[in-house]
Every structure is written in structure tokens, then in C-alpha cells.
Amino acid sequence: MNALSATLIFPLLGIIILALIGHRKSAKHVNLVICTSTFVAALLLAIEIFQQGPMLSGNKLFYIDGFNVYLILLNAFVGMTTAIFSGPYMEHEVAIGRVGDGRMRLYYSMYQGFLFTMLMALSTNNLGILWVSVEGATLATVLLVSLYRTHESIEAGWKYFIICGVGISQALFGTILVYFAAVRTIPIPEEGLLWTVLQKHAGQMDAGVLSLAFVFLLVGYGTKVGLVPLHNWLPDAHSEGPTPMSAILSGLLLNIALYAVVRFKMLVDPALGNHLAGNLMMGFGMLSFSVAGLLLHRQYDIKRMFSYSSIEHMGLMTFAFGIGGPLATFGALLHMIVHSLTKSAIFITVGQATHISGTQKMSQIRGLIRTQPFVGWGLLIGTCAIAGFPPFGVFTSEFLLFTATIKSYPWLAPPLVLGLSVAFAGLFRNLQPMVFGEPPLDQKPIVANMWPVFVHLVLVLWLGISIPTVLAQWLNQATIMLVGKGVL
């Protein structure tokens, strides 16, 4: 319990502290210290859950189980490693005059605000608070997307605000419908939004209302997941905001939105007794996966390209949760981790690469491996990992998912393979010249801290070779909660 409060209180304090001192030289250290404390608290929380099983807080406001505990840990971890990268990166941005004091305060404060809202969304037991937190995450990041105040970044920020705001309103309507169905079936109507209560009575709720609710929830949270055709904001927001923001948007925020969809799916499935929710998710997932893979080929901006790769992977996960068997679900849960770790590592590397070449245009980024071998190798290995090469973790999860697809929907296996190879081609046609090409004459190495990338990629490699028992247990536990039986 104490560990949980600490996990939430550190970033909350961080919002206030960094709003005051965010412009000082020491801010990056303070930011890192806060993020590290959050991570330690999350680690303690994880140990507690591992030893004692699911935990419901006294006021029933928070609930931690196998499904969200590892996401909390992942969130705190990526928040911490991105903070390591963000310090020197933002210093460079200040040095070249892109941001001033006031905006640095905003940046650091909202960095913590963003982490806080995401941790809140994950740990809460109240589906209404879940909505409030996800909307809060939009509000925290919207001014960060437009941080540079260029025409493009303001456009991206406005688009992000309006599209996600409108989208997430649909999710609130869905939540109201769930509450509407709940107050009729559960003994204490005031508890009608508590996940633990709803789950117990899921089978008795009205199927008609819940199926309607799920459509709204999928469209609403799906906007934030970046599902095609609601994905328009995502490449813009990722490409125009500061790179540390792109790393945590891509690695964490999309996961949270998907987490929300899956939580609701767990309520809707027993009430409906059919595969409607799963079919919807499979359809949206497959569409996103295929369209994003094709659009990868048309990109000119390196951050846009990798954000399309995020859409592709989110589509794949949505598809996997939609299939719904134990194997596919286990694969999807694992994919959430490995995608987060790999994608944030890639964005960190991309941040260094854009500082080396001074542009985000892929046609002008050349010869990274010769100018600065670590960055070049980082980008190459990271992209190999995200494209699903063995022995990295993405391969493992995609393999599980593929096996499950062949088992339950064999006719979907060919488009899946085709999509994966199209995406692979899209990534490598652009990557090859950036890493190996002839570097411009005046291109110089920069001071870059590649430790976060290294740690992330080693973890992804580790997960590809052998999943630690603790994690496998949690994933299995979550799989049992989701589909009724586990894989272990």
C-alpha cells in the first residue's frame, strides 16, 4: 500500500517542484531523481504484489493485479530511462535557442504530470477515474507537442487536442453506458464504476447496452491507441514534439489506451457471451496494421516513420487481443512490453541522430555509423528488433501471435505475413542509407548518452531468449483473467 502511494506521490510532487525550478541547470538531475524514486517505489510495489497477489486499497480506489502491475513497472522504468536521455537532449535544445526558461519549466513539470496521469490510469480501480486520467494525459502533453511554437508544431498540437478530445468523449459516453447497465445489476449502485465489483457481476449486465458501450469505448480509446482511421493525430504529434516526448508517447501512452480497451473487453465478453468485442478489435487491428505498414513507405521524416511503425504494432496487439485465445493474449501482453522498450530505445537513438545531422528529414541523415558508431549501431539494432528479427523479444511475441492465428484463423495468416514483410521493407529501405551512407563532410559526433538504449535493447534481447519466471507468472495470471485459461 505504501509503495503504491509512493509511486503516485513522487510524480505528483514532481509536477509542483519542477514547475518552480524547471529552468535551472539542476532540473534535469531533479527530474531524474524523481523518476528514479518512482521506479524504486514501483519496484517495491511489484515485489509486494508478487508475494501477496492482487491488492485492493482500503477505499477501493486502487486495484493492482497481474495485468497492471507489470505495466506500472514498465511505465516507471521507461519514464526513468527517458529522463536520462531527456536531460542532455533538452540542454542541447536550449543551447540552440529552440526553447526558453518558461517552456523548460513547462516541459519538466508536464513530463512528471504525464507520468502521473498514466500511473493513475493504470492503478485506479474506478473506470471513471481511468477516463479522467487518460484525458489528463492528453492535457498534460498537448502543450509539449507544441513546445517549439513553430507553425507545424502548433498545428500538430491543435490536431492532437481536438481529435483526441473528441475521440475520448466517445469513451466517456461508453463509460456512462457501462455505469447505466451496472446500477441495475449490482447491489450498491454507488460502486457501479469499480472494476472489482463490475467484474464479479459482468455476466448479469444487459448485453444490448454493453455491446453499444463497447463500440463507443473502442472508438474513444482507440483514437488514443492510434487505430486506423482515427490515427491522424499520432504521426504529427510524434514528429513535432520534443523527442523524449515521442519516446514516452509511443512507448507508454498508446499502451495505456489499449489497456483501457482490454479492461472493458473483460467486462463485455461474459455479458455478451459471443465474440463481438473480439471481432471488432480484430478488424480494427488488422486494418491499422496493414495501412500503417503501407504508409511506412511514403514517409520522409524519421520520427513520422517510426510513429507509423507504432501504429502498426498497436494494430498488431489489438488484433491479438481480439483473437483472444490464451496464446494470442499472452503474446499480446508480452508484445506490449517489448514494443515499449524497443520503440522508446529507437526514439532515443533517433533523437541523437537528428542532433548529429541537424534535421529530421531522412534524405539528409546519412552515414551515422561512420560519424558516431554507437548511434548508428543503436538505430540499426533497434530497427532490427522492432522489425521482428530473432533473437529479440518482438520476434518471440510475434511468433506466439502468429502461431495463435494459424490455430484459430488460418486464413488470416497470409495477410499477417505479408503485412510484416511490407513493414520490414518500409523500415529498411530508409534505414540503410541513414546508417551506412556517405556522411556529409562537416558532420560531427555529439555528446550522446547511449546507456538507456543499451539497457532497453539488452532487456528486449533477454525477453527474446528467456522470459523471467516472475514476469511469465504475471503475464500468465493476466492471461487467465482475460480469457479464462493460461499458457503455463
Binding site: W131, V132, V166, Y179, G192
Partner: protein, 225 residues
Amino acid sequence: MLITALSLPEQVVLTLAALILLSSFLLLAQVRLDSLINIFALQGLLIFFATVLMAFISGKYHLLISAALTLLLKVFFIPGQLRLLVIRLDIRREVEVVGNPSLVMLFAAALVLFSYYVAMPIRELSLLSTRNTIAISLAVVLIGMLMVISRRKAVAQVVGFMSMENGLIFAAVVSTYGMPMVVELGIAFDVLVAVILFGVFFFHIRAEIGSLDTDRLNHLTEVEK
């Protein structure tokens, strides 16, 4: 079912629901910014009355808190803030050309029909006195969305966005006697922060493109320029 078979307060709630829907249509058609903001405040006021009435019908007096929140935010703070911004940006008398208004209105009417169609299963289940209101609140949400899509001026888009929020609050009030208090407070906080951020954005957009015409925010495309 005849409307006269209902009790008087219920009839009033239904009338209010109809008026709220009407105000949504007015918002959609209004081209002058200052009148737009006034109609938005009026919609908030109607929702406030409906909430108070529901509190007395159901005897759930915590709804009065939510009514007070609506009054403060939707009738006073947000319209006041928008008026202030409009004056400070000096666009009070600005008139916006809505592309093909009759088509937009027809589309909105179709949305109302669609909402009734979608809400069918819910209406049959409902034990509450107010049955049409879910369909109407969904229609208000969808018309707000249509407004965000069809308008070009940033202020009008924000009003559309906030009127979606109005529809949601109305849905919660009439279908479930409001949400749990902690959620209502959270939503109110989000709306409050959103309005402040929208204000910040107005100034940024104006500083960048010289007006609040979001059609001119068109630099980001898939192809390189």
C-alpha cells in the same frame, strides 16, 4: 406512451431535453461568435435546470453538487472565459461562413434519427422516468462532433467540443442520476484545464497564422514539400 401520462416534473425534464437539442441546432447554425457563446451558456443553463429537477425527482441530493458544478463551469466560467478571449483577440463581431449550411443541418437531423435508432435497446430497458433523454443526449454529443468537423474557426470548434461535454453530462444525469462524485469532480477538473489550454492555443495559433482559421493549419502532410 402518452406524454400526459407522466408526472409534471418528468414532463418538464422532457421539455428541457427537447430545448437542449434545439440549442444544439442553434449552435450549429449560428455564425456570429458572440451569439454562439451566448447560446452555449444557455445550453449550460438548461442542463443546470434539468439536473436540479432530476435531483428532486429522484431524491438524490448529491446531484445538486453536480448541478452547481454545471452552473459554475458551463454557464459562468467557460462562456465568460471565451467572451474574454474573443474580446482580447478582437474577433467579437467576426462572422464565419459555414460551407453549405443546409446540408450540415440536414446531416444533424439525420444524426438525431440515428441516435434514436442506436438508443432503442436502452430505452426498452430503462426503468427511469425519462426515456427519450439518452437518445437526445447522444444526439447532442454527435451534433457537437459535427460542429467540430464543419466549423473552421478555432473558437467555434471549442464551443462544439464543450457542447459534446454538455451532452455527456446530460446523459449521465438523466440515465444514472449522475456519476459517482469523485468522477464528476475529475471530469470537471479536466474540462477546466481544457478550457485554459484552449485559450493558450488561441494565442499561439493567432501569433502563427494571424487568424483563428484552422483551415490554414495545413502544413503537415504525408508527402514532402
